[in-house]
Amino acid sequence: MTYEFLMASGIGVLVAGGIFLALRARTFQVVLGLTLFSYAVNLFLFASGRLKLNRPPIWSETITDYTDPLPQALVLTAIVITFGMTAFVVILALRNFLESGSDHVDGDTVTGDAQDGLIDDGAQGQRP
């Protein structure tokens, strides 16, 4: 029971944090949010084969109780895909920031320094 509770609440906390961060305005937080969200999804997929401890992941005639190996294969695929995607979105966000001077997701043209309060961007929206 405690194991299930730990797993479920862990997934819940990850999803909540992920969604909160993914809804932020700037790319770095969004990327972090997506990463947290994908961790939660991977744990969830893993749990879809039911939580079993100390059981072999293979089926044979002599074994009556085994863990489902398929979700583990699915999680592996999902991890590889989300890892590649995250790497891609990081590079993309970086390129976008370097080319446009703004790391706002919604196409805002306020410069990064002005967002951080480092300079006073009086000319709202005027890019350097």
């Binding site: 999804v41 997929l45 084969g49 590649g84 995607m85 979105v89 966000a93 976008n96």
Partner: protein, 508 residues
């Protein structure tokens, strides 16, 4: 096993093999790389036509990868619907690739051809697979390739739109995985045919979870299909993409529609308890809203490519209005219109490119500019594309819309569907007439000299002309095409057929 038995794997294997070879060749011998890419697309079209011939008599071919028996291994299923979508994808790819090569758009960045081939691999795989997790994998393949293609040519506008496109699709993929996890936990299978059978045997206490999983899955497909309110990512992405790429992307929203048509009757059909026909109450209103938004966008768009992007939303909405009936006649009409609207949207993207190439700094903005080369020829192409896009006779859009209007009369809410379809057609027609007359009839008064247009060759008129000729052919062959579409719809709506083909004697 003979060669014919391996036919279903060819549309996936050909681009998968062509992509690395094109990648190797593009460094030193550009021409050879382009040839590989073109030959691969031709071979895909050949394989797709062979599958179409096989499926047109009603056989459903199930191909077991590695010869693993069906519910455990991965299967590819080639039925009428899959074969039809394969032919559509290969045709569209040839047109888009031809345009990219002719206009040299493929030289504006690296790796256009390998990415294009991987995109085709993802599309073909998504159309063929009979396994829900494999559908996710092929979705990812086509999305990863589309990220690269969308950013092809670079520039701040593309990067900005690219970040949004990627983030939205990453969230979509995560939701897809959650839905898959739930469905696997409930049914213990990922094979669509098998899942359809097991869903019917679920315990009453699992019905709530099943409904959540079904709704999540349908929302992901709706996101891919850009159905309102999940359409906001599309316009900016498509409008800033390289036009040849945007023409290929015209089929990407249709992948969402295809998945909906494939999965809902098969898995969430009559026997699915709480999840039976789960999108039904929401699909029709959402489809009507997206048709309205799409054609309103066509009306107010500031450039031709933006107009084409809105057209994609609008036509997907129109298709889904018919899909929402889930009857043979409505689904058949929807499939016919789906083929038409994909090619029509692609043609419009290509015409937008042809216009932009000739107007220099004025690009394809809907503002009067100086006279440009081949004005009347391009104007004629635009007029034909607009006729196709709005669904006026004599092109196939008219027949498609007529079929949809006729078939939805069997539904209870058909008045709404008629009203929306006819009104959006009128709005779209006015929008195209407005932009067309601005572009082709008005001349700018200002003496500002236009940026010198690139040496005008007329070869770039070929690809859009081919697309429009195909629409004319679809109109001439409407009898055969609509009969095929209706047969495909009947086959999809009878899940027992494909369950028998996939699982063989397991189902009795």
């Amino acid at each position: 096993m003979t060669f014919v038995d391996h036919l279903p794997i060819l549309p996936i294997a050909i681009p998968a093999l062509a992509a690395p070879f094109a990648l190797l060749m593009m460094r030193r011998r550009r021409r050879l790389g382009i040839t590989i890419s073109l030959v691969s697309c031709l071979a895909m079209l050949g394989a797709a036509l062979a599958l179409l011939a096989q499926a047109s008599v009603g056989t459903i071919t199930a191909y077991e990868l590695g010869d693993w028996p069906a519910p455990f291994g991965i299967v590819l299923v080639a039925d009428r619907l899959a074969a039809m979508m394969l032919v559509l994808a290969a045709t569209l790819a040839l047109i888009a690739l031809l345009h990219a090569v002719v206009t040299r758009a493929d030289r504006k960045g690296w790796h256009f051809h390998p990415l294009f081939q991987f995109q085709m691999m993802g599309l073909n795989g998504a159309f063929l697979t009979g396994d829900l997790f494999n559908l996710f994998v092929f979705f990812e393949v086509l999305l990863i390739a589309s990220y690269g293609l969308m950013l092809h040519g670079q520039g701040p506008a593309r990067l900005k739109a690219g970040v949004q496109y990627v983030v939205v699709n990453l969230v979509g993929s995560s939701l897809f995985l959650i839905a898959l996890g739930l469905l696997y936990a409930l049914t213990g299978t990922l094979n669509m045919a098998d899942m359809g059978l097991r869903v019917a045997r679920l315990a009453p206490e699992d019905q709530g979870l099943l409904r959540i999983a079904a709704l999540l899955l349908v929302s992901v497909f709706a996101l891919k299909a850009a159905v309102a309110p999940l359409h906001l990512w599309l316009v900016r992405t498509y409008a800033v993409s390289t036009p040849a790429v945007a023409a290929l992307f015209a089929i990407m929203t249709k992948v969402g529609v295809y998945s909906l048509i494939r999965v809902v009757p098969q898995v969430f059909g009559d026997g699915a308890g709480a999840a039976a026909w789960v999108p039904a109450p929401y699909l029709l209103p959402a489809a009507m809203v997206s048709a309205g938004i799409g054609f309103a966008g066509v009306f107010v768009a500031r450039s031709l490519s933006e107009q084409a992007a809105y057209l994609v939303i609008g036509s997907t909405g129109t298709v889904l209005i018919a899909v929402a009936g889930w009857q043979t006649a409505t689904l058949g009409a929807a499939l016919y219109y789906l083929v038409h609207s994909t090619i029509a949207a692609a043609a419009l993207f290509l015409v937008a490119d042809v216009v932009a190439r000739r107007r220099g700094g004025f690009a394809d903005n809907a503002s009067p500019g100086p006279d440009f080369a081949d004005r009347s020829a391009v104007g004629l192409l635009f007029m034909l594309a607009a006729i196709a896009a709005t669904g006026l006779p004599p092109l196939s859009g008219f027949i498609g819309k007529l079929m949809i209007l006729k078939s939805v009369t069997a539904l209870p809410d058909w008045g709404w569907a008629w009203g929306v379809i006819l009104t959006t057609t009128l709005i779209g027609m006015i929008g195209f007439a407005r932009v067309g007359s601005t572009l082709f009839w008005k001349q700018a008064q200002s003496g500002e000299a236009p940026a010198p247009a690139p040496a005008a060759t007329r070869t770039d008129l070929v690809a859009p002309a081919i697309a429009l000729a195909l629409l004319a052919a679809l109109s001439v062959g409407a009898g055969w095409a609509s009969a095929y579409a209706n047969a495909a719809a009947a086959q999809v709506l009878d899940p027992a057929l494909s369950a028998h083909a996939v699982l063989g004697e397991v189902v009795q």
